[in-house]
């Protein structure tokens, strides 16, 4: 009798205190867009490279979503295709040698990540959103433009595939954020005017 009670308590404990470690995986496509005519450095902060979201939901335990690695590989591919040339820099403040070769520095940031489960939303989907802030600094470290985009993704999932469904939704959110950056960054008014201004500058 005693052992049955203990087993029940342990079982209940296991069911309520479960942790879901989400794996974010998916393809990293190269965007088919016209390149922005600029040579830029890109500075990935440590928080961007290793971004991890952890959240405890009352009825669904702990969720760990390490999206930094996949997000970084997506951005590396995206930025390489978006500009004439891209090099990763160690600091947003350029050295004299870098200033001679680069027109500016891009600093991407993940400001916020959020997700919803079907239990919370009442819908049959797991959904995820990522708020990105892309800052362009000129070679003298003056801010040229800030571009804020929200990537959104959703994926259908069952009770026993919740981790995979949220992983898929997160990957779709990265992809959606990438879409907005690929299509919109070159048309951002401040960047258009920066490019026009650079065109007029003596080489």
């Amino acid at each position: 009798m005693k052992w049955t009670a203990v087993s029940l308590v342990v079982l209940l404990g296991l069911l309520t205190a479960c942790t879901t470690n989400v794996v974010v995986e998916g393809s990293v496509p190269t965007p088919l867009v016209a390149r922005i005519p600029a040579n830029v450095g890109i500075y990935y902060e440590e928080g961007f490279k290793t971004f991890m979201h952890s959240e405890v939901l009352k009825e669904e335990g702990t969720w760990n979503i390490p999206l930094g690695e996949k997000n970084l590989s997506f951005f590396r591919n995206l930025m390489t295709a978006l500009f004439d040339s891209v090099v990763e820099v160690e600091s947003p403040e350029l050295t004299d040698v870098q200033k001679a070769n680069l027109d500016g520095v891009i600093i991407p940031k993940i400001e916020k990540y959020g997700f919803l489960t079907p239990n919370i939303s009442g819908l049959k989907f797991y959904s995820a959103s990522i708020h990105y802030r892309i800052t362009l600094m000129d070679s003298d470290n003056h801010k040229v433009a800030e571009y804020v985009v929200v990537g959104y993704g959703k994926s259908e999932g069952g009770t026993f595939s919740s981790g995979q469904a949220l992983g898929d939704a997160t990957m779709l959110a990265i992809r959606d954020g990438g879409t907005r950056i690929a299509v919109g960054l070159g048309e951002h008014p401040a960047i258009v005017s920066w490019l026009a201004q650079r065109e007029g500058e003596p080489k």
Partner: protein
């Protein structure tokens, strides 16, 4: 042999009735050479309803097999090759947008290199329209069992809009509707009697789509 008959009998008994209706509207002549390909794309949206991936997978399976298989480019591969132009946010809403899309660098080249002749956009979903009854299962130290009957009615409604990428026009539209009621009866053991309207709509749409593309009618 006896076992085979028993399996067929059980499957027949456990399969509920589904009614399906198919409609076609053609606006241009079609035809598909052996080396030309079709892409099936589920229309994605940011609201709570969208075409299930399982439905487009079912269509792809049905069209790529059989006596006259159609060459298909997988949806994920196509979207990756043409990223970011077929994402939910950027996908062309009508064939009128194709000319604008083809003006983007590299898009036309990639489509021509893969010899993609048609795009079939699939719109729709399967919804539960009614449910009722009462069903419960009990498990105790003396044994267990189920008792009661529950039912649910589902309606599958899908539409395929076929775009001709050679002529940059809409070649036609095909719609498939199917509905059926599934039952779960409990007589100690739970006995499911399943209607699969989504599957019926898939088979009907695939058959009509194959005929639409391979029959050259003007």
């Amino acid at each position: 042999m006896k076992n085979g008959c028993l399996i067929v009998l059980v499957v027949t008994l456990l399969t509920s009735c589904v009614t399906a209706r198919i409609e076609e509207s053609r606006t241009a002549s079609t035809g598909l050479n052996n080396d030309e390909a079709l892409v099936i794309l589920g229309r994605a949206s940011y609201n709570d309803r969208q075409t299930e991936e399982s439905f487009t997978d079912c269509l792809a399976d049905a069209l790529s097999t059989g006596s006259e298989p159609i060459r298909l480019i997988p949806q994920a591969q196509f979207k990756d090759q043409l990223y970011p132009w077929f994402e939910p946010r950027t996908a062309p809403a009508s064939s009128d947008d194709l000319a604008r899309l083809f003006a983007q660098p590299g898009v036309q080249d990639r489509i021509e290199a893969s010899k993609i002749r048609y795009l079939a956009w699939i719109n729709g979903d399967t919804v539960t329209t009614d449910r009722g009854g009462s069903f419960s299962c009990t498990l105790s130290t003396f044994g267990g069992g189920c008792l009661g009957v529950t039912y649910w009615e589902e309606n599958a409604s899908y539409e395929a809009s076929i775009w001709d990428l050679q002529n940059l026009t809409t070649a036609g539209e095909i719609s498939a509707d199917a509905s059926g009621t599934s039952y779960l009866a409990g007589l100690i053991l739970p006995i499911p009697i399943m209607a699969r309207p989504g599957n019926a709509a898939c088979k009907a749409l695939a058959g009509q789509l194959r005929e639409f593309l391979q029959t050259d009618e003007g």
